[in-house]
Amino acid sequence: MYSFTRRRLIVVLLLTSVLLLTLDGSKSGLVGGVKDAFGVVFRPVERFANVVSRPLSNVWRGVLDYSDMRKENLALKDLLVKQEGAAIAATASVREAQELLALNGLPTLAGIDSVTAQVVGQSPSNFTQTFELNRGKSSGIRVGMTVTNGAGLVGKITGVTLERSVVMLATDPEYAMSVKVGACTRPNTTTTAVPQTTTTLVSDGSTSLATNVLPTTTTTSTTSTTSTTTTVLRRATTTTIKGFTPFATTLPPVPGGGGVSQITVPETGVLLPRETGAMEGQGIDRLPVIRFIQTSTRLGELCGGVPVVTAGGSQSLAPADLVVGTVSRVVTRTGTSGPLLEVELAANLQSLNFVRVLLYQPATEIPQ
């Protein structure tokens, strides 16, 4: 080993590196196998080191993070109180939307199985943004699967062993995802009286299928088979979510409904158009951006606060309509490049503990 000349040594090390990089790039599976084998040997040593170093880590955290955690805890309590009411309303809306999608034969997130996993490690590198989960192949996790938490998109699985898997965060520069973004509505934050119309079906005048609130005007008409109650509501709605407009609720067609469709189609003017773009991670401490969005008369004006959801589709990495976050800033660019949108992710990637892995492997990630 010591007989190597300096030049030979450099050439050999360089060639070996190139060989390793080529092997890694060729996706032959050899590198993955070697990493798996190393993991088997290394894992017990790491576990031992974790036990030994835990007191020191705890002291470090206690000294530096205690006051921050206290402040964060108070802020979270306030937020929790505010969110509880909104969550109940949102759950009802989501359930309704899922029922509609299911009735129309469209795929929904509710139809995708998932595995809950805990974050057990973080990348020791200053450049890559990955987390390690305590679930792997044995739980059905495969490369390419989408990872979410209660708030929204977290990232995707990039490596998996029998009992562990690695998640690349959505902020990693190598992460890219097609997303949908809507235009903003005017006025942005207002307190308005929104007239709402709910159609309620009552079979033989006995069972009500929908619940209404604060009726002001009621009209009842009866036929030989069904009776229909139309309730016109008028209530004050405060909305701070840009891009969200309440519209007439719909009910699925009831079999044998006498040939009269009970589906209320929302007015096309009320539905907001949405454009698809590519969201790319920008690295640590930087927000992901959406490119390839074109400002068009159909889309209207782009502005901050608009929700961003996954686009879905056969080539997409994630199923459709998964919450990603909101647009935090619109950067206007000259020429044909179109605007650049910065996205504030809904999920807090700094404090991940439990996450949900959707057992949905995109077509592009299935090994040939």
Binding site: S17, L23, F42, A49, P124, T128
Partner: protein
């Protein structure tokens, strides 16, 4: 049997064992301690310390080995850390030879400079192999912090790597 002991006593067997232990602390303890949100790179510290303790060539080989082990737990392109850490070991050994009889502070300086250089080179090398987006202004701060930390812990690391890579006279006699 004699050959077996010779392998066990081999400098690079020791280096591998040290590498595994250091890597386990890299992925646990040093992953938690993040001053200024920067992960301390103890594997890089060992690579650079190898160069100072045993010369450029041994430093390059040991650095390559440490980088290879580090690649095993990273998701970045496989072989990239090996290349960069090998360079760090080689550079630290090279810088150290500028002084006829390097003093303790010069060793610290060699390790600090080569560590910072390796941190700066890593995103550039990533760009060459097709990983875009790592080359940012933040890298300068990371390189400075890692360089400072590695310089601070240079002397114990050099001591450890000298024990691993440089055979003492007593050991040589025993091996014969």
């Amino acid at each position: 049997m004699k050959r077996f002991f010779a392998i066990i006593e081999s400098p690079f067997t020791r280096a591998v064992l040290i590498g595994i232990i250091v890597l386990s602390f890299q992925t646990t303890l040093f992953n938690t301690l993040r001053p200024f949100s920067v992960v301390m790179q103890v594997m890089l510290l060992c690579s650079a310390a190898s160069g100072v303790a045993a010369g450029s060539e041994s430093g390059a080989i040991a650095g390559f080995m440490f980088g290879f082990m580090y690649d095993m737990v990273l998701t970045s392109p496989f072989g990239l850390s090996a290349l960069v850490f090998g360079f760090a070991g080689y550079m630290a050994g090279g810088v150290n030879t500028f002084a006829y009889s390097p003093r303790w502070w010069f060793k610290m300086l060699s390790i600090g400079i080569s560590s910072a250089a390796a941190v700066l080179i890593y995103p550039a090398a990533s760009l060459v192999v097709g990983v875009d987006g790592l080359l940012q202004t933040r890298v300068i701060g990371v390189a400075f912090t890692v360089g400072l930390f590695n310089a601070a812990f240079a002397l114990p690391a050099v001591f450890l790597m000298r024990w691993a890579l440089v055979k003492s006279k007593k050991q040589m006699l025993w091996a014969e």
